[in-house]
């Protein structure tokens, strides 16, 4: 079967691979390399660029705003990961119990996931807005009206608000992951576990914790790289403010490149985003692969 067709095969393979590979190379790989090049230039005007070597990086690393941005990104990462695992675990488990109305909740919880991030950002902006939002009258109603403060105007609260909004938006995915995870556990084991107490706890420990850890690992990987991509929500809700309190790395890049029109330093941030993304993914894959072998 092979000999007759073998001649044409090379051409067939090329025919199938080359168009897609070209699109990928031109629009993904090439810009990446070009980004490295851009990060070593300083633009005096659009047509006049000076090569400056690693000077952009030096200036970036000497700027406390960059380290602030890194810190904020990490806080966002940790906060969203934690919330998603915890909320996802409990809601996933309760849904798995299949009590009355669970189908409805399953449908409902996933709605924010499919909404436009821009729309989600504005909806929450409006809810928190002092002029006509829901939060202020709500706090009035429960007697805490005096404590009301526009959360996005406060440096501490604004990051927390952003984390909560992001969790609200995407936790539907984690709920479904945990739900599916519980669904796939052997039923009799779980049933036994609930019937007799002491050994039951042990069983649950051995069944549930590994599952939680499995999914938590995925969420961690997702969020580690996801936080390096979190731009839309930040841009819509705070634009990085107040006073850089919510300036995650993508936003930091945006400010450098498109607000201060410093393409060189912006590109340096972009390179950092890329390297961090690579680094986190590879590191976690390696760590977790080793663990699953043990």
């Amino acid at each position: 079967m092979k000999s007759g067709i073998a001649k044409g095969r090379g051409r067939v393979i090329a025919l199938f691979i080359i168009p897609g590979l070209l699109v990928y190379a031109i629009l993904v790989l090439y810009p990446l390399i070009q980004g490295f090049a851009l990060s070593t230039e300083r633009w005096v005007t659009v047509v006049k660029r000076n090569p400056v070597g690693l000077d952009n990086y030096r200036r970036l690393f000497n700027n406390s705003l960059f380290w602030n941005s890194l810190k904020v990104t990490l806080q966002f990462m940790v906060g969203t990961t934690f919330l998603q695992v915890v909320v996802g675990f409990f809601l996933g488990y309760f849904l798995y119990k299949q009590m009355k109305g669970y189908r409805f909740y399953k449908t409902l919880y996933f709605i924010p996931v499919v909404l436009m991030t821009v729309a989600v950002g504005f909806i929450w902006n409006n809810i928190l807005s002092p002029s006509f939002g829901l939060l202020k009258p709500f706090m009035n109603a429960i007697g805490l009206g005096e404590l009301y403060f526009p959360p996005l105007a406060d440096p501490k609260l604004s990051l927390l608000t952003l984390i909560l909004t992001e969790a609200w938006r995407v936790v539907g995915i984690q709920v479904m992951m945990f739900y599916a995870g519980f669904m796939n556990m052997p039923q009799d084991v779980l049933e036994m576990a609930t019937i007799d107490g002491a050994s039951g706890i042990k069983l649950i420990w051995h069944m549930v914790i590994p599952l939680v850890w499995d999914i938590a690992k995925m969420v961690i990987i997702l969020q580690l790289t996801g936080s390096l991509r979190a731009f839309d929500l930040v841009y819509v809700m705070t634009k990085g403010g107040p006073n850089h309190a919510t300036e995650l790395l993508p936003m930091h890049m945006f400010v450098h490149a498109f607000e201060n029109f410093n393409i060189g330093i912006g590109s340096a941030v972009a390179v950092c985003i890329f390297i961090l993304s690579m680094f986190f993914t590879v590191l976690l894959r390696v760590l977790m692969k080793r663990e699953s072998l043990q």
């Binding site: 629009l27 810009p31 729309a119």
Partner: protein, 294 residues
């Protein structure tokens, strides 16, 4: 990883079997938590819809209640003065381009990778898969610079191509694992009958990969439809803007007309909601899978 795949199967078998004694108190507690989160998801959306139907005055003194008269004209104004229809058409156009290109590129590559053995197969596979680690943010500055140079600003087709290119890695990843599980017997018969490879691809592989293709199409359409950063930088002219940037402009323009603002946000969310209602199960599965793999 196979947690997600087998979930729906498990669900069927569980529905009746799963009736074990759980104390009344804990059921109530669990129901309560589910309801509270449900409310947390639903309330902002309901509030948005209600606010969009009120008058400006009502917003502040009638926060919780229904509007006394439903102000449907808010929608009319938002629709006509906000040009939301045009933005939607632009989004449809861009998204369609990105779907066509990414499906064309990734099905062909996945076919070659899953069916042929050739020297550079492994490196090629990893080169493409590695793209999953590349955030679009780390390439956006070079893409912007290049688009400016090539006079491709304001081109929805170019934007669609960019989206498509960044979807290739995960699409190839999903499709390759899908195609590899299709039994080879059919093709072997076809080859003996003198069928060409492109023909086999078109009339055997593609129809059998329908599920995988649908999954990557859903994932691609959601990301392209919702994307903000690249489109914001690439599309400046109002007549080519996609929905997310259109909404940004809309919000800025109607900043103090809160009811119109809400109406606009509702309108902008309708396509996503319809999409979700039509393909709910597929979307949940696809996005959970996409999250696990990505």
């Amino acid at each position: 990883m196979n947690i997600v795949k087998t979930a729906s199967y498990a669900e069927k078998s569980l529905a009746r079997k799963h009736r074990k004694p759980v104390s009344r108190g804990s059921i109530i507690a669990m129901q309560l938590v589910l309801a509270v989160w449900g409310l947390l998801v639903l309330l902002p959306l309901v509030w948005l819809v209600l606010s969009s139907l009120k008058t400006q005055k009502e917003l502040t003194y009638n926060v919780w209640g229904l509007p006394s008269v439903f102000q449907f004209k808010n929608y009319l104004i938002a629709w006509t003065r906000g040009y939301l229809g045009r933005f939607m058409l632009n989004s449809v156009y861009t998204t369609a381009v990105s779907i066509i290109i990414s499906v064309a590129c990734s099905t062909t590559i996945a076919y070659a990778l899953s069916r042929f053995n050739f020297k550079l197969k492994k490196p090629l596979y990893y080169l493409i898969i590695a793209g999953m680690m590349i955030p679009i943010h780390s390439a956006v500055i070079p893409l912007y610079v290049t688009a400016m140079k090539l006079d491709m600003m304001n081109s929805r087709v170019a934007l669609g191509f960019i989206y498509a290119a960044f979807r290739i890695p995960i699409s190839v990843f999903i499709l390759e694992s899908f195609m590899i599980s299709i039994p080879k017997e059919l093709e072997e018969c076809a080859i003996i009958d003198g069928c060409s490879y492109p023909r086999i691809f078109w009339s055997i592989i593609l129809p059998l990969s329908r599920d995988g293709i649908l999954t990557i199409t859903i994932l691609t359409s959601l990301t392209s439809w919702n994307e903000l950063l690249v489109s914001m930088l690439m599309l400046g002219r109002p007549e080519v803007k996609t929905l997310p940037i259109g909404v940004m402009g809309f919000i800025a323009e109607f900043a103090s007309q809160y009811t119109l603002l809400c109406a606009g946000l509702v309108i902008a969310s309708v396509p996503n909601i319809i999409f979700y209602m039509l393909l709910q199960e597929r979307i949940v599965k696809g996005m959970t899978l996409g999250a696990v793999k990505g």
